[in-house]
C-alpha cells in the first residue's frame, strides 16, 4: 500500500502555543482521511505544513514521495488546496479567478476558459460567473475556492473545513465532488467540524487535540474503542414494557433507562453477545419487539470522550 502523504513527528510552535506537537500521519493513495478536532487543535497548521505553506520546526513530511521542505515545487505540482478561509480574489469575477489559476498552471488561453466554464458549471456558479467575487455569498465563495483548487486535477487534495458555511444542498454537492475525485484516484485530506462529514467521506479518521493525534482508525473502530455500546429494545406492545425492562435488567445487571412515551428501553452493554441472549429470552417470554438494536456510540460521543469537548454546534450524527 503506497502512501500519498506521510508525516512524522511534525512540530510547530508559536511561542508558548504548541500548534503541532509531534504529529504522525499516513494517508494511503486514493483514500480519504478526515481530521477531526476542536478549535485550535492544529488541523489548519498541519494542512499548511503539508501544503508547503509553513515550515515545520521539527519532523518531516512527504507528499507523493517528495519532501515538503526540500522539494516544495514538486509537492505543489501534485496538490490542490482549499484553505479554511477563502482565498479568491474579490475584485475578479468567478471566471477570471479560475482562468488566472488555469493560466498559472500553464493551460492555453482557450483551455483555461474551457476549464473555468466547466468548473463553474459543476459548482453551479455559471450564473454568477461574470460578477466580482466580492458580491458572492459566503457559500458561493467557498465553492469558487474549491473550484480553484481543482483546476489542475490535483492528485492530492487538502480541504480545510470545505463545507463550513455551506447549506445542505451545497454540502451534498461538495461531498459528491469529493467522492467523484476519489473514485478517479485522488487522495484527500479533509479537516472538518462536522462529524457526519467525516463519517460520510472518510475512510479513516484522525482525531487531533492540542497538536497531537489522540486517536485514529475507521469510524466504527473509533466508536467501538470508546466503548459505550447500547442495547435498545422497543416492545410491540407497551404492556410488555415492564417484562422487557426486567429481562434487560437481569441480562446487563443494570437498570435500563425507560422512555414511557416512545416505549424505548436502553441499557449499556459491554458484551455484544448479549444481543442474541436477549433475542432468545424475549422469544421464550413470547414478546415481540418493533426495534431491537445494538448501537455504537455516535461520533459525537466519541469526540466528546476523546477530547473532553463537544463537537461544534450544528454538527450532526
Amino acid at each position: 500500500m503506497s502512501l500519498a502523504i506521510r508525516a512524522e513527528g511534525l512540530v510547530k510552535h508559536y511561542g508558548e502555543t504548541k500548534a503541532l506537537d509531534g504529529v504522525d500521519l499516513e494517508v494511503p493513495v486514493g483514500k480519504v482521511v478526515g481530521v477531526l478536532g476542536p478549535n485550535g487543535a492544529g488541523k489548519t497548521t498541519a494542512v499548511r505544513v503539508l501544503a508547503t505553506l509553513l515550515r515545520p520546526d521539527a519532523g518531516h513530511a512527504t507528499v507523493g514521495g517528495h519532501d515538503v521542505v526540500k522539494d516544495p515545487v514538486r509537492v505543489r505540482s501534485l496538490i490542490g488546496l482549499t484553505g479554511q478561509y477563502a482565498s479568491v480574489d474579490e475584485d475578479l469575477s468567478g471566471t477570471e479567478n479560475l482562468v488566472l489559476i488555469a493560466r498559472l498552471l500553464d493551460h492555453s488561453r482557450a483551455g483555461a476558459r474551457a476549464r473555468a466554464a466547466e468548473l463553474l458549471e459543476q459548482f453551479e456558479l455559471t450564473e454568477a460567473a461574470g460578477r466580482p467575487a466580492r458580491t458572492y455569498s459566503g457559500g458561493m465563495r467557498r465553492r469558487l475556492d474549491l473550484a480553484a483548487s481543482l483546476v489542475g486535477n490535483p492528485a492530492v487534495l487538502y480541504l480545510d473545513e470545505p463545507t463550513t458555511g455551506l447549506d445542505p444542498h451545497a454540502r451534498n454537492e461538495v461531498w459528491r465532488v469529493v467522492r467523484k475525485l476519489v473514485a478517479d484516484g485522488a487522495t484527500v485530506l479533509l479537516t472538518t467540524q462536522y462529524l457526519e462529514e467525516a463519517d460520510q467521506l472518510a475512510d479513516t479518521i484522525t482525531v487531533f487535540d492540542h497538536g497531537r493525534v489522540v486517536a485514529e482508525g475507521r469510524a466504527d473502530e473509533l466508536k467501538r474503542r470508546v466503548g459505550g455500546q447500547t442495547l435498545q429494545v422497543r416492545p410491540t406492545s407497551l404492556a410488555d414494557l415492564d417484562a422487557v425492562q426486567r429481562i434487560l435488567g437481569d441480562l446487563t445487571g443494570m437498570r435500563p433507562t425507560r422512555d414511557d412515551d416512545t416505549g424505548l428501553l436502553t441499557a449499556a452493554v459491554s458484551d455484544p453477545v448479549l444481543l442474541s441472549t436477549l433475542v432468545r429470552k424475549l422469544d421464550e417470554a413470547g414478546i415481540t419487539a418493533d426495534e431491537l438494536a445494538l448501537r455504537l456510540p455516535s461520533l459525537d460521543e466519541v469526540f466528546l470522550a476523546l477530547t473532553g469537548r463537544k463537537a461544534e454546534e450544528g454538527s450532526l450524527v
Binding site: A51, T52, L53, V73, R74, R76, S77, I79, G80, L81, G83, Y85, A86, S87, V88, D89, E90, D91, L92, E96, L100, I101, R103, L104, L105, D106, P132, A148, G152
Partner: protein, 257 residues
C-alpha cells in the same frame, strides 16, 4: 532547460500582471487615489500661488507640471506595497504559494502591472495639464524620453514600497507609512518653489533630493534647458534606490510569503 524555466516564470508573471491590470480596470478609484491628489495640487498651486510665485500663472504652470509628475509617480509607486500586502493578508497568496509557480512570479506580476498604472497616471496628468494650458516646448522624442524616465523612476522607487508593504501588518498601515514618507520628500524639493529662499539645511537637501533632480531633468526635457546634470543625478538616485531597496524588499518578501 533554465531558459524554459525562465520563460515559464515570465509567462506566470505576465498572467499575474494581467490580474493586476484587471484590478485597475475594476477599481478605477484606486488609480484616482494616486492621481487626484497631484491634480488638486496642480490646480490649487497654479491658480492660488502661481501669480505670486512666478511672473505669471502660465510661467508657474510650466515649472510646476514636471514636478507634479514626480509627485504623481511617487504616489503611484506606493500602490505596489499596499497591493501586495492586501494579497498576503487576504490569503490570496496562499493560493499562489501552493501552486507550482516561481516564488517571485507574484512580485514580478505586481511590478509589471505597476508600469501600466504609472503610464496611465502620467497620461491623465499630462492631459489635465494640457487643458490648463501647459505646453511641451520641445518635441515628441523628448516627451517620450521624459515619460520613460518617469516610469523608470517609479520602477526603482516601488521597491521601497514593496519593502514597507512586506514589513507592516495591514494595507492601511502601509498606505499611511508611505504617505508619511512621500509628503516631506515632495515638499522638501523644488517641485512647488525654488530652493533659494529655503533655510540652509533644507536647501542643502532640496537641491540634491531625488525629487528635485528628476523634476529638473523633466523640466529640461519638456520645457527646454539643461538636462545632463539633473539627469545624471536622478540616475544615481535611481540606482541607489534599487541597490538599497531591491535586496531589502526581496528579503522581506521571502520572509513574508
Amino acid at each position: 532547460m533554465s531558459a524554459v524555466a525562465l520563460d515559464k516564470g515570465l509567462q506566470h508573471g505576465l498572467s499575474l500582471a494581467w490580474r493586476g491590470i484587471l484590478k485597475i480596470r475594476k477599481n478605477p478609484e484606486q488609480l484616482a487615489d494616486v492621481t487626484i491628489a497631484p491634480i488638486v495640487f496642480l490646480v490649487m498651486f497654479t491658480y492660488l500661488f502661481g501669480g505670486a510665485l512666478a511672473s505669471s500663472t502660465d510661467d508657474y504652470l510650466q515649472m510646476l507640471v514636471p514636478g507634479i509628475m514626480v509627485m504623481n509617480i511617487l504616489q503611484a509607486s506606493m500602490t505596489a506595497g499596499v497591493q501586495l500586502n492586501t494579497d498576503v493578508s487576504k490569503g490570496v497568496f496562499d493560493r499562489f504559494r501552493s501552486m507550482p509557480i516561481a516564488r517571485s512570479a507574484p512580485l514580478v506580476g505586481a511590478v509589471l502591472a505597476d508600469v501600466v498604472r504609472y503610464l496611465m497616471c502620467v497620461v491623465v496628468l499630462l492631459v489635465v495639464a494640457t487643458i490648463m494650458g501647459y505646453r511641451v516646448q520641445t518635441g515628441p522624442v523628448e516627451l517620450v524620453i521624459a515619460i520613460a524616465l518617469v516610469l523608470a523612476f517609479g520602477l526603482c522607487f516601488c521597491w521601497a514600497s514593496v519593502f514597507v508593504g512586506m514589513l507592516l501588518k495591514t494595507p492601511g498601515a502601509v498606505q499611511g507609512m508611505m504617505f508619511v514618507l512621500i509628503m516631506p520628500l515632495t515638499f522638501g524639493s523644488n517641485v512647488f518653489v525654488g530652493t533659494s529662499t529655503m533655510p540652509g539645511w533644507l536647501r542643502a537637501w532640496a537641491d540634491i533630493s531625488p525629487v528635485s533632480l528628476l523634476a529638473d531633468a523633466l523640466r529640461g526635457l519638456l520645457n527646454g534647458g539643461p538636462v545632463a546634470g539633473p539627469l545624471a543625478g536622478s540616475v544615481v538616485w535611481m540606482v541607489a534606490a534599487v541597490a538599497v531597496f531591491f535586496p531589502l524588499a526581496t528579503l522581506a518578501y521571502r520572509k513574508r510569503v
